[in-house]
Symmetry: C2
Subunit: 478 residues, 2 copies
């Protein structure tokens, strides 16, 4: 199996010097193996000009993808060889493990320079990834004004709006006119304005947010229109201490592109933009998917082997305990199983169908809780609906598997026994599948993380328990 | 259990007439039950002015949340009672089932008026939800220019960039100056400009895209700067026929806020903005989560009961077939199970741990394939890593469960038998958990939808098969 088939590279480097256009994708949005190999080679030789040639013209996202592919040793070397030309925003495009991996190898001076180049939200993300002592060293080496802003952001809780926000923004008084703002833009040095911005904030002398004017409204306005005439005064805002996930919900619900961030006294402290929020949304989805699959939501593809093995072990250990609960139920029916081994053969069908059916219900419930579609006002209705679906499918599969089992083992009594047990288990599974996530959510546990083992324990215990009990009665097993 | 506890509403309506501020949230981002009740009452009475009073000042997202809560009959009545004041964008904020539910009840004239009010991307979404004949009726009643634009969008494949894009945009020639563009904004009637925009597109006389100028660059430029001096010429673009999911990946990767859409001959036909893309991203995540949970990715909380029951049945039916495969394996060991019933008690532990461990691997693989972190260049490395994790955890759980089982049944032979079977099954599960999704992905099937039953069939068959075979040999069962 050739992993690079179809993505070969001409051998004659002189003719086709890779450049920004020479970054070949491997079909997965990453650099191809040959390109990575070339970069690794240039790094190994310490050939700074060749590294510049290869990497210099790349978009920061592509540099990020490249860093992910490089070896542990080559990563910080690349940053050093690029020197002042290395764009630290590329470190925003790599996984957390890779970022920390690189940062811990870099000298403090390089970090200081890198952080100074960045917008405040990215600078905060870099500082977050540093060890506390190193964080202090970097902060101390920054000019006072930058240090104060970054320290304030870092004082907000992790994953809060205050950490994600951009603090460079344009705030002007309400009596300015549209024309004056436009003049202000033209007169101000590019360096002092944010790299990109969508709106102008209108504030009073105490920096309290009065309203905002989007650029498209500004350029449409008469030059002599006062900002307080054209601003949107009722703009939604988020508190800096609020969770990023909450802010993301606001963006989604109201289709926002940016939202001002205020402190406890409604003073403007920053702005959250949609591109930061997209990362939060994507991150949340990933975490929910991993949690539902029994994987630590923090696990990244680039994480350390032993860390991953241990975290998977922890989850499997809980599942093992629940498996022993099921086995205890089975053991209590040991003599019945001996008398009628068909029950041991058929039991997994009842338990398995119940587990799969309950997982369907649980998935729907967890997702609907995450999107806030499921809430107090419709919970009862959805519970009844899921019970009804469990009953319908329980009856259907009870009949089908009962008929098959009765024929297979030439024992007509297996039909009512299978049917009744299957029905019971699918109804119990539906109940567990929706009620367990609701309970976890009610008590502020993440239902995606915790529901799975509980729900399948219900269907295993009820499945085997009901099946063996009903069979014991029907077939008079003692 | 009171569903509205804590969100009560004063009984004296005269004093606190609900208005935009009167829309009380129920903690889940939706309107509270009392508010819904009041709106339902006003609708039942046909009291148009009361409906205006209650709903008139709400944000479209809140009207959408309200529509979701209303009864089937009340929904179209609300639209009719609001008349020309009903903002059709609210229909963008409801689930697909609710949208179709409302649209099929509305007269064609109302639909025509509603569609005319909307931006082109939303108009397309409304038209998509109509029956073909009704779609034609509405299109025929529109002015020629709007009809042509909408028909062209509808000609693009479902979920393509062409369907999602906004066609109202600002395109100007390259020789215009920044000052002239600003004058153009001020002179143009508000109606003819897009509701909101971030950039100006620079095109040649054939409407080929030359570059774009973001508003923040425009307002910073000298008034006499030509657009072709200040535009970004190398802007990323998407083809109108491209899948929306592909476009979403571009936005995420390069942190874009908008991207021009071009047709087959590189002519500018529209613009995709991040707020549309956020919906695509959220939708994709939901579909992946549902698929992994064995739920039809199209299933919505508001869907018809029988549709949901049938679609869940289909998935469970496939699982039932795989359950019978497992039972066939068990049946082939019937005499061994009779001789040693402990095997029937302990088998589910081996199968279950294997299934859970394989699901962990599969979840990581499916997610990493979706985010493109897993690809040809690192697939082999990840396969080996997962096999190693399976081996480590297989050895660990083999030992633990073996010791417990040997003690429980006072049979020391169960230790090596359990340990060996567990090890085999976790390694096999790890292999299946990563290779099955990779194969599905390779052949362009969605790995999230299809991998589950295959992977658990592997761990059930290998789990029971290995355990019973090893036990038969060790204990000389015939």
């Amino acid at each position: 199996m050739s992993l690079v088939a179809g993505f070969g590279m001409p051998l004659d480097h002189e003719e086709t010097t890779p450049s920004a256009e020479g970054f070949r994708e491997d079909g997965g949005g990453g650099p191809d193996a040959d390109f990575v190999f070339e970069v690794e080679a240039a790094i190994a030789l310490g050939d700074s000009s060749r590294v510049h040639e290869l990497v210099g013209g790349l978009h920061e996202a592509d540099v990020g993808a490249l860093l992910e592919r490089l070896s542990h040793e080559a990563r910080p070397r690349l940053v050093e060889l690029m020197g002042a030309d290395f764009d630290f925003t590329a470190l925003m495009e790599v996984g957390e493990a890779t970022r920390e991996d690189i940062l811990e190898e870099l000298p403090v001076e390089t970090l200081v320079e890198g952080v100074r180049e960045l917008e405040s939200d990215d600078a905060v993300a870099i500082l977050e990834a540093l060890e506390p002592e190193e964080q202090d060293e970097v902060l101390d080496a920054l000019p006072a004004q930058e240090r104060i802003v970054l320290r304030r952001s870092l004082d907000y809780p992790e994953d809060s709006a205050g950490r994600l926000m951009q603090t460079t923004l344009i705030a002007v008084p309400p009596f300015w006119t549209a024309g004056r703002v436009l003049d202000f833009f033209r007169e101000t040095e590019g360096e002092e304005l944010p790299d990109s911005f969508f709106e102008v904030f209108v504030v009073d002398p105490g920096y309290h947010l009065l309203g905002t004017v989007f650029l498209d409204a500004l350029v449409r306005a008469r030059p002599d229109a006062r900002l307080d005439e054209i601003m949107q005064a009722d703009r939604r805002r988020v508190k800096a201490t609020e969770d990023g996930a909450e802010a993301a919900r606001l963006f989604e619900r109201y289709n926002l592109v940016s939202v001002p961030v205020v402190d406890g006294s409604e003073r403007l402290v920053g702005v959250l933009t949609i591109d930061d929020i997209v990362d939060v949304i994507q991150e949340q989805a990933s975490e929910e998917i991993k949690a539902l699959g029994g994987v630590n939501p923090e696990e990244e593809l680039t994480d350390d082997f032993w860390w991953i093995a241990r975290s998977r072990f922890a989850w499997l250990f809980i599942n093992m305990l629940t498996a022993f609960i099921t086995s205890t139920v089975l053991k209590s029916f040991q003599s019945q199983l001996e008398q009628m081994v068909a029950l041991a053969v058929l039991g997994p069908i009842i338990a398995g169908q119940g587990g799969n059916s309950a997982t369907q219900t649980m998935t729907v419930a967890v997702r609907a809780l995450a999107t806030r579609e499921l809430n107090r006002s419709n919970a009862l209705k959805i519970i009844f609906r899921e019970l009804a679906i469990g009953a319908v499918n329980g009856a259907a599969f009870g009949l089908v598997t009962g008929v098959v089992a009765a024929n297979w083992f030439q024992n007509v009594g297996l039909l009512p026994v299978m049917a009744l047990a299957m029905f019971t288990n699918l109804v119990a599974g539906a109940f567990g599948g929706i009620v367990v996530p609701l309970i976890f959510d009610r008590f502020k546990f993440d239902p995606a993380v915790s529901s799975g083992p509980f729900v399948t324990t219900i269907t295993d215990v009820v499945g085997y328990g009901a099946f063996l009990t009903i069979a014991s009665i029907w077939f008079h097993l003692g």
